[in-house]
């Protein structure tokens, strides 16, 4: 018997009516983990898996599994940018948009471009769903309004506090894309980050 458990053992009422259980088993029952904990953990794990799968399968940030970019979820992009101090690269895109597929297949699929983007920005995709569903999620509408997006693709580089740093409309090839990304990074570095 562990002497430190003695108080619990002495005063702990045995669960079996009128039968005095051994002290050790009572001390043990005090330390026993309720089985509901395992159930809660299992439920949280299941939720974690389901949300990860569904977010990847249909989320706007993963549409077309574009290229080699590690897209950040739209809902966490600003928090990630604040934590990392990197500017956000918004890729405003749509499923029906041809030039957007060119950007995915040519620009975002290039290992050098992808490495540069993953390193310098918090990349996130903003998928327009008006043509398919008649309306966009609130956050997508809000971002399109804020940056005045009217054509696809549109790339917007913004500071973690949301200030627009640079914008490019359409896709004119990899060379132009690289120039835009490099120029935006330089502008972002020169632009002081407003503390929040």
């Amino acid at each position: 018997m562990d002497r430190t458990e003695m108080p619990g053992g002495i005063e702990g009422a045995p669960s079996t009516a009128g039968v005095s259980a051994p002290l050790e088993s009572r001390a043990g029952s005090q330390s026993k983990l309720p089985s509901i904990l395992l159930l809660v953990l299992a439920a949280a794990a299941l939720f974690r898996i389901v949300t990860a799968v569904t977010d990847k399968g249909s989320g706007p940030e993963e549409v077309g599994k574009a290229g080699l970019i590690r897209w950040t979820s739209l809902s966490t992009a600003q928090a990630t940018a604040r934590d990392s101090g990197k500017p956000i690269l918004y890729d405003f895109t749509a499923e029906w948009c041809g030039p957007c597929r060119m950007l995915d297949g040519d620009g975002w699929a290039d290992p050098r471009v992808a490495a540069f983007v993953n390193d310098a920005f918090v990349p996130t995709r903003v998928l327009d769903r008006v043509r398919e569903e008649g309306r966009n999620p609130t956050l997508v509408d809000e971002l399109q309004r804020r940056y005045g997006v009217g054509v696809f693709p549109t790339l917007v580089v913004a500071a973690p506090d949301g200030r627009q740093i640079a914008v490019a409309q359409g896709y004119s090839g990899k060379q132009m894309l690289v120039e835009f990304l490099e120029g935006s990074r330089a502008k972002a570095a020169a632009s002081p980050i407003v503390p929040r």
Partner: protein
């Protein structure tokens, strides 16, 4: 257990004084900066409320007296957690209400004056509460095996370990740290979630799972821990 936590915490004059000062600073901050940057002080309140929540009871010997009653250790542990959250919720609500009254009645009306619209205030308060609940779970976990308020040091180290690799030149190290941070200290844009975007998103899933893991780990460690007699 919740009542005991509240009695114990608010029975200490120093702690009440510290929380009062923080509340005043929080009210000033909210009144001056609005909701966007207004809850910056709230994290300090959770540190004060949650630090050493279990370890102090162990070192003072109070825990042995509590466990003299036939209650499960997990009930004690989660009672402490609920006590922390209840106190923190009261802190947030009181400071938010007082800040609203200050903005409404004391701040002179001008186009540039801060506004605290109720919906934005409620969203900010909810985000601060959930963020505090996560920090409190980590502190509770560390408090089950670290002495005194070393749980704060544990939390600080966890943040440093997961954030310092960002300064590294090695991409693999940065990627490793980013993945670890995403899973161990997940960020959620709560304002978007409250608007209905990403409620069932991957970030929310990661956050809920990580919170559950910290709380279950705390229970596992605490249930198996040998409790020494008090040293105070």
């Amino acid at each position: 257990m919740i009542r005991r936590f509240v009695r114990q915490k608010f029975g200490s004059g120093g702690l009440v004084a510290a929380l009062t000062v923080l509340a005043l600073l929080e009210i000033l901050n909210l009144s001056a900066n609005g909701v966007e940057r207004g809850f910056a002080m709230a994290n300090w309140a959770i540190f004060i409320l949650a630090a050493g929540s279990v370890s102090r009871d162990i070192s003072s010997g109070a825990l042995q007296m509590i466990l003299a009653r036939p209650i499960r250790r997990t009930r004690y542990l989660y009672g402490r957690y609920a006590g922390i959250l209840a106190s923190y919720a009261v802190f947030l609500v009181v400071t938010s209400v007082l800040a609203s009254l200050v903005v409404e009645f004391l701040v002179p009306r001008s186009p540039s004056a801060t506004e605290l619209p109720p919906d934005a205030l409620a969203a900010g308060l909810g985000a601060a509460f959930l963020s505090g609940a996560f920090q409190a779970a980590i502190l509770l976990f560390f408090s089950t095996f670290l002495p005194g308020i070393a749980d704060l040091l544990g939390l600080l180290l966890l943040y440093l370990i997961l954030n310092l690799p960002q300064l590294s030149q090695a991409p693999w190290l940065r990627t490793l740290a980013e993945n670890a941070r995403e899973n161990m200290l997940p960020s959620v844009e709560w304002s978007a979630v409250f608007r209905g975007d990403g409620v069932f998103g991957a970030a929310t899933g990661r956050w809920i799972f990580a919170l559950t893991v910290y709380l279950v780990l705390a229970a596992v460690v605490f249930s198996r821990r040998e409790l020494p007699y008090g040293q105070d």
